[in-house]
Structures are given as C-alpha cells and as structure tokens.
C-alpha cells in the first residue's frame, strides 16, 4: 500500500467523521413541520398560495431562522371533510415524528384533527380554518388566520351603520364556518336594528353549486343587502358572476360578504362584476402599510407580476413566523407542545395585514378588520379601497361565549 493510498483513506475517514458530526449537529437543529393542506380536491388552488408564502418567509428571513433549519413535510388533506386530514395528522406525528403541525385550510379538517393534536402533545398552528370554536377543541391549537365571527360580526354592524340596510338575506355554505358567518352577521346586524329575513344554505364546500336558484330566491325577496359566505376559491367567482348576471344590483340589492368572496388572487378574473362589492376582512393585497408593501413586492419578484398573495398566504406567513418565534423562545424544544403554546400566548407580530397578537386566553388571533370596497384603479385593474379600519378585533364568539363557543356545562 503506497503512502499516497493511505493518505487518501485517512482523508476519507476524516471527512466521514466530519460529515457524521455535521449530520448529528444538523439533526439537533433540524425542525420538522408537518403541513396539512388540500393539494387535491376543491381547495387545491389555495394550497399553493400558502406554500408560496411559507417558502418566501424562509427565503427572506433565513437570518432570523438560524441556527435552526425548517423541514416542511407536506400531506394532502383532499376533500374538505376531515377524514384525510385526521389520518395525515396521525401519520405525521407517529411516522414522521414531526415537532409541529400546521396548515388546515378547511374547518372540518381542523375539527377532525383536534383529538390527534391533543394526544400528540404538539403545537398545531392553524393557518386558515376559521370556525370560531376550533381553538377550544385542543389546548395545543394556536390560530394565526382569522375567525368568521371577526369579519362577519363587523360586517353585520356596518351593514346597519354604514350601508343603512334594514333587511338582509344571508346565503352561506352549509358547514361550520358558514354557520358561524350566519350567526355572527345576524347577531350584529339585528343588534343594530336590522332584520335578517331569510338564511339560505347554499350547498356544501365540496363542490361549487349553481348559485342561480339561490340568488333567484333572494331576488324575489328584495332585501337591501345579500350577505354571502362561501369558501374562497371557485365558489367566490361563481357568486360574484351569478349575482351580476341576474341583475340583482339594479333590482336594489347590494352584495356584501366576508373577504372570502373577493380573494386577491381571483379578483382580476372577476372583472366588472366585482366593482362596488363591499366586504369586511383582515387582509387585502392593496393594504397600505410598510410590511405589506414589502411582502407584496417580494411576492411579485419571486412569483411574477401577475401573481398576488391573498389572505390565505398571510395566514401561512404569520403561522410560519409564529413557529419561528416559538422555536427560538423554547430554545429549539418546540416539540414540547405546552411550552411552545405558552411562548405564543401574547405574541405580537407586525404582519402584512397590520399588527396582530395571539390572545393569551383563547390562543386565537387578535387583529384589524377592514371595511373594503372593490374599485377600478387608474391602471385599469381592480383594487380594494379601505373605507374604515377596526382595530384589535377579537373573536366575538368566544368573547360573548355564545352558541358553540359557550362554556360546556
């Protein structure tokens, strides 16, 4: 054996040891995040909006994430009925041994996963699902998205105060967040002198129904406003187009809703039909604050000038920021679910949507809501104009402790 060969073997051995050392060090700092999103099925178009936000956060905030490394393990929650999401949560916890769970676009998915999250004792960051009582279902749930009570309650108040509406019809997708939207709007609207004259369950979240018969019924009832909640996505476009096609505005009915009916990524495709719509939501891509300007600019730079973040992107962005905070606050021991949750109680963050905070009592987000109107800008594109801002809005379902949010006896 020549001297040269021995040197090579020795060098290889040294490298192997070094590599091994590096691996064990990386393992100590590697954090596995299990991401549960619908990559197929009706929500499939929302998942990329959230994935992009998570990627973008990691790219732009690499310095803040150090010395940790985030590994995202994705699982498909398929149809919005909770069945696949629950299995996803189980597999991520038991097989992939993830440190944190995150995602959940649809409420049924988060509701079905709650017992698994509780049993797994890992932090679960809800990045979209908006049914109010979900955070009551597991002490490990923290929500960075929104509740339907936040937007619909404010919309109910403003329908009476700002739009001076006396009568309203509510059309809602018949599943938990839709019922929340109905109850919140009705509660606020009727406490401000309005009257909800009809509530129409308009199909489920699985498929986009033909809204013509539902809206024909509304047209026959001649309310001042039609308040609609449908999950953002295809259903939103169908609502706006059908409303316009039936000529309901000319018949004296104003379409209002949560921001779900005018998600930023679909707004341009809605065209003239969307102009004038009034919604309440916590985010729109036109919001004028430094964080949002930087966020939208970085987004367009990364994903092209025609790509736009929407509120689901911001829920994911804030969610991954929350995970990063918990990671540093627990000094890497984020797999201790109780400690991770505790570190997020009262956490404040400057989000693209404005300042947000996690309510230490409910683990739910506290944030601004904006009364928006769709307007056509001088650039020929559609924009959201903020008519009024409501600061630090809490989830009224839990504040009032009513309906499904009432304490269990």
């Amino acid at each position: 054996m020549s001297r040269h060969t021995i040197a090579v073997i020795a060098a290889a051995g040294a490298m192997a040891i070094a590599a091994g050392g590096a691996t064990s060090q990386a393992q100590a700092q590697d954090v596995k995040i299990g991401l549960i999103l619908p990559y197929t099925g009706p929500g499939a178009e929302l998942s990329p909006e959230m994935d992009k936000a998570i990627d973008l956060y990691q790219k732009l905030n690499a310095a803040q994430i150090k010395p940790y490394k985030l590994t995202i393990i994705k699982r498909d929650s398929k149809a919005p009925n909770g069945a696949a999401a629950k299995i996803d949560a189980q597999e991520l916890l038991t097989q992939e041994k993830v440190d944190v769970l995150a995602g959940w676009i649809y409420s049924p998915d988060a509701i079905a996963s709650a017992p698994v999250v509780t049993a797994g004792k890992r932090l679960g960051v809800i990045m979209n699902a908006g049914t109010a009582f979900i955070t009551n279902l597991s002490p490990y749930y923290v929500r960075t998205s929104f509740t339907l009570w936040q937007s619909s309650y404010v919309m109910g108040e403003e329908a009476a105060k700002y739009l001076h509406a006396k009568t309203a019809v509510v059309a809602y997708t018949d599943y938990p967040p839709g019922k929340d939207a109905l109850n919140a709007f009705k509660y606020a609207f009727e406490h401000n002198g309005g009257k909800v004259i009809d509530a129409i369950p308009a199909g489920g979240p699985e498929a986009t129904p033909d809204f013509t018969p539902f809206f024909q019924r509304v047209k026959d009832e001649h309310p001042n406003v039609l308040f609609v909640f449908v999950p953002a996505g295809d259903q939103a476009t169908a609502v706006v187009k059908t409303f316009a096609a039936l000529g309901m505005k000319a018949a004296g009915t104003q379409l209002i809703g949560t921001g779900d009916i005018v998600p930023d990524d679909l707004l341009q495709g809605m065209g003239e039909s969307a102009v004038g719509l009034i919604t309440v939501h916590h985010y729109n891509a036109d919001l004028d604050n430094p964080q949002n300007k930087a966020f939208v600019a970085a987004w367009k730079k990364a994903y092209g000038p025609d790509s736009t973040p929407n509120f689901t992107s911001v829920g994911a962005w804030d969610g991954i920021a929350a995970i990063n905070h918990a990671l540093h606050a627990t000094k890497g021991k984020i797999d201790d679910g109780a400690a991770a949750v505790k570190s997020l109680e009262g956490w404040k963050f400057n989000s693209p949507q404005g300042p947000i905070e996690i309510d230490p009592h409910t683990r739910d987000i506290v944030m601004n809501e904006y009364l928006d109107q769709v307007v056509k800008g001088s650039d020929g594109k559609l924009h959201e104009k903020v008519l009024a801002t409501f600061h630090n809005v809490k989830d009224q379902c839990k504040e009032l402790a009513i309906g499904p949010c009432a304490p269990k006896k």
Binding site: A44, T208, R217, A245
Partner: protein
Amino acid sequence: MNAVADIAGIVLGGLAAGTVLFIVSVGLSVTMGLMGFVNLAHGALAMFGGYVIVLSMNRAHFGFGAALALGFVATAALSVVLERMLYRRLYRAGELDQVLFTIGLIFIFIASTIIVVGSETQQLQLPPALSGQFNLGFIQYRAYSIFLIVVGFLIALGIWLTFERSRIGGQIRATVDNRRMAESLGIDVDRLFTITFAFGSGMAGIGGGLGAEFLGLDPQYPLKYLVYFLIAVSVGGLGSVIGVYYASLILGILDFVLTLYLPKGGTIFIYALTILILLARPQGLFGRKGL
C-alpha cells in the same frame, strides 16, 4: 307584475339548466339506445370538450363560436380514437365489464386533467353580448340563459329532424328498434355507430363548454354529474331524442324550484320521482317498449 317576473325567473332559470343537461346527455341516450353500450365516461368527454373550449378562449384567445366549433371537432375526434381502440373490444362484453371499463376511463380522464391542466375550476369568459341582461318585454333576464334555451331548442329540433327525415336517421331508428334485422338489411351498424358516437360526443363537448357557467368545469366533472346524465337518459327513454329533451327540461326546472324553496336537500325528491317514474315505466317516459 312582480309575481309574473318571479315565476318567469324560475322557469327560465330551470329551462337553462335543463338545456345544458340535454345538450350533454343526448349523445349518451342515442349511443346507449343504439348499441346497448353503457358508456358512463360520456361525462368525461363533455369535460374534455369543455376544457378545449374554455382553454382555447382563455389561452389562445379564440372567439366563442370558433371555440365551440373546435370543442365539437376535438371531442368527436377523440371519441373516434377511443371507440376504435377501446370501446369496440367491449361491445359483446357483459354490462358489468362495460361499467367497470368506462368508470376506469373516468378516473383516467380526471387524473390526466389534474396533471395537464390542474385541479382548479376553469372559468368560461362569456362574450360581452351574452354576459348582460336581455329584455324580454315583460322582464329582464340573464342574456346567456336565454341564449342557451334558444340554442338548445334549435339543437333538439335539428337532431329530431335528422332522426325523422334523413336516411341516416332512419338507419339509426331501425338499428335502435332491431339491430339484427337492420344488419341483415345491409346497414353497416359499426360505421353507423362510429358516426353517431362521434356526433354524440361532440355534442357533449359543446355541452361541457356551454354549461360551464352553471355546472362549473373542474376535473371532478364526469363523476359529479354522472347521476344527472343517467337520470335524463333513463327518464327520457333510451334512444329517444325528444324524450331526453323533455326529461332534461323537467329535471332542470324541478331541480331549480326545489333548490329555491328547499335549499337544504330538496333535490332528494328528484331521485324519489325518478324511482317512481321508472317503476311505472321502466322504458322511460318516451322510450319504446322492448328495448
């Protein structure tokens, strides 16, 4: 005055929905009546045509008419390929084999569509002339719905005339009534079927595009509406063009009225009614006995 407008709105809305159903289902009725072939993948061809129409408009900036023509030709061409390569092998197979095969075909269509185009719903961009309101004299109504109703009526009339008056129509009727006898009289049933199958599939393709405004257009389309297509065909009667037309319109109006008055699960009555009709008349409302 208001009541008139309300009722007219309901009738027109239901007729428009029924018309879409007719345009998609008519081909299925004729091919099932002609060959006794259970082609559950008919809706997949409608979806294919719909995608061709919508994508050629949105991405290649085709006009509405040109896109519809392209959708018809492309779907008809694809159906001939499928018929020659795959369907033909199963004509003499049992019904269960045919059902399994065509259901499998649906899944292939769904998966291919997700891979090639994506799983999001495709939006039909209507030409400006059709996207507004149309004044009918006594009410204003959605221009596109009225356009659909008129087009559907013309299509039904055209197909009916072809069936009743033309040579090929006579051959089709003869084959539906008695295939063996038709063959012994020298009618080339295989060729006849290919032509009918291509035409029916092309119509389905047009229906997929025209109906995207009401039924939406996404990869799950062929499964979502399969039951509706089958109800229209079985209630109308296999091989009966007029039967499918009436059945589709009745189904459209009933579905519309029930959804309007009983938004939560009102459509269950449609299934109940279908069962009752088929119990009383297994051959369908307009079907001929002995099929």
